[in-house]
Amino acid sequence: MDRVPVLAGTLDETDLEGLVEMMTLFRQLSTVELESPAGAPEGTLWMKSGQVIDVIAGDLTGLDAVRYLVGRPGSYTVYRIEGVIDPTTQPLMRGTELLQVISELKTDSARLQHSTGLQRRGALPDESATVVSAAATAALVEPADASARQAAPSVDASAATSQPQSGDAAEQPPEHTTPLDTVSAPRLRDGSPPDSAETEPASLTALPAAVPPPPRAPSTPAPAPPAARAPSTPAPAPLPAPAPMRMPPPLTPAPGRAFAPSPPAAPPPAAPRAAAAPAPPPVPAAAGPRWATPAAPPPPAARPAPVALRAGPPAPGPARAPSAELEHSASGPHGPILAVFANKGGVGKTTIAVNLSVALVRRGLEVVLVDADPRNDVGNALAARKDTSRGLYDVLDGTVALADVLLPTALPGFAILPAGGLNLPEDVFARVSAQPERIAALLLALARPNTIVVVDSPAGLRGVSYSVLSASTHALAVVQAEPLAVRSAALVPRVLDGIPANHRPALAGVVLNMFDRRVAASLAVLDGACEIFGAEAVYDIPIPRAGVFIEASANGAPVALMDGSGGTTAGFIFESLASHVLARLGLSTPKLSDLRLL
């Protein structure tokens, strides 16, 4: 087992707390070795992956060692250890828990020092924490001395209060969510463990006795005890000697913490993989101000088939449909796919997608509302009583059938495909999000004739939003009636223009949301939007900023279905918006005669 020095410095620049916090970022096995100002070894802290494996100071281990080490001046060296930890080892506690302890100890010792009038040795950069004199610290941590224990009230108290819990904990599963007190109690109490403890491997973290106390052999370097929890490891591999030992009792590995020999030497650290990762397709260089001009995103790599822009016979079917259930998508005419999008979050895309869908359904059209935003807000906005944890992203992943997650609603003709994906691991989620072809095929599959697919896109104009846009026949832009939002909306036409013509959705209009006629800025925004998109594209009925939307979303209802509190007015606005949209989609509103109930 090799150790490679990584970092060194003095404790007055970076104290133990700061070191531990930084070391929580280490995934490898690492140690900090502390030395006194005179260069004598003080102690060693073992960490891996944010877990504290052990703390050793002389013959003190665990929290006793921590109490000894906190506030001591000197220097540190951080090492990376090449080697593996015996799989049966249980960490002592989380790094975050240790930080909690350290910060409590710092406050305590500061308080103690204050009350006893001990002399200051120096101050840590953090003025809340004071270094106590070595004598006071030693008194604090002398574990055999009962009176000294009283000097550290908070730790002792926590150990005491946790005493009953430790008993309880024995019954609990050995999760590492055990509160610190429970874990630490055994080490603080430090009685001789009943031998039987070792026969109960199931509660290693929780059982006081399960972590055998360190050999208290101040004068003799204790022979390494048999590795209690690692019967397969013949001999406890020696810990790398932490710095030349000039300290009276040599450090001994804590029993049961056997370290297996190093695997073939790890490769030397290379440049961060992230930086070296293959770059995504190049983005054409932007012209003009660097920040203001979005480069046109690259077209989706491969598409099964160009989507017909208007309802009508689509181009020849895809070479390979992603899954059987999406197969029929390519053949025959299909209905329009309308992406509701914006390059900013929180502007009202979801509100508009939901309420517009409802208005379209009330006009007699069949609507499938697809939530493509991983926030899964459509389900939230409608306070769905059905399971929305699985949906679009799971279908894209191929683990779930579309029919199983397409949710019917109380309104006939209105179905919702939630975003779902809540149980997908991050990497799977990222992979399925980066499949424009599958997204296109899925939307096409939903867009049967006589059905309008409304897609609530995530914020932004790239990634999934870009895939959705280029799979849509039409796009409805949402702009918040706020100056900054309009400035950023200037990007929208350029991005649309950057989509290859055979994938480019027709702009079905621009809706201003959260409009307030009393505010001059709102009016200026209307002008700005007309300038950017052309007056004919901007709907002349902006959606007012109104409490009813907040009330509606609190109740999980579309505004059109709300009585009173302005619901009817807001509903009317969406009815009107629906007419505009239908006209843009080239669909006429069903004739009144078609709407007769009888």
């Binding site: 970092l7 916090e21 970022l25 960490p91 490769p267 961060p272 993989r273 990634g463």
Partner: protein
């Protein structure tokens, strides 16, 4: 101190950034140069590559927050180790790009602004402080980079990562 809950929050919120990552990178530098026009000189003329590298690195940092406690004893190679990667990154910032320590504050501000803008209403006070803590921690390790005892012969190879 970055709690487990905060780590999870950061990981979850990153999902909302991924779809707008490129726009976010545009916004980030726009905001940074609004705050500190003088920092423009540190960067190359063509920012395309730089934006990608930043997003990649942020993605790596977030990914490094995302593993269950039960995986604590997994083998992780040194070039996948957040601490070592960030330490080396920091050293390049100081030694090669000549970034002073005080630059981390405006850069952090620009980052939070970008996340606020991009994530919108979900970027509440809690999420903000989680990101602020993570940034603070990463920045602290980066600033320690100059103190790292890396094998000097590798420094050149690592610096080759930029271009």
């Amino acid at each position: 101190m970055l709690s487990q809950a905060e780590r999870e929050m950061v990981v979850r919120s990153w999902r909302l950034v991924v779809p707008i990552a490129d726009t976010a990178a545009d916004l980030f530098y726009r905001r940074l140069f609004e705050l500190r026009p003088d920092y423009r000189a540190y960067f190359p003329e063509d920012m395309t590559g730089q934006k990608k590298k930043l997003v990649h690195m942020l993605a790596f940092i977030v990914r490094s927050m995302d593993w269950p406690d039960s995986a604590w004893n997994d083998d992780v190679s040194p070039d996948e180790d957040l601490f070592l990667v960030v330490l080396a990154l920091g050293r390049r910032h100081t030694e090669i790009y000549g970034i002073p320590d005080e630059a981390y504050a405006p850069v952090g501000e620009a980052l939070l602004w970008t996340l606020d803008y991009g994530i919108g209403k979900d970027f509440d006070a809690q999420l903000r402080s989680a990101w602020a803590r993570l940034y603070g921690l990463v920045a602290r390790v980066m600033k320690m980079g100059v103190r790292s005892i890396a094998d000097r012969s590798k420094a050149g190879a690592q610096a080759g990562g930029r271009s």
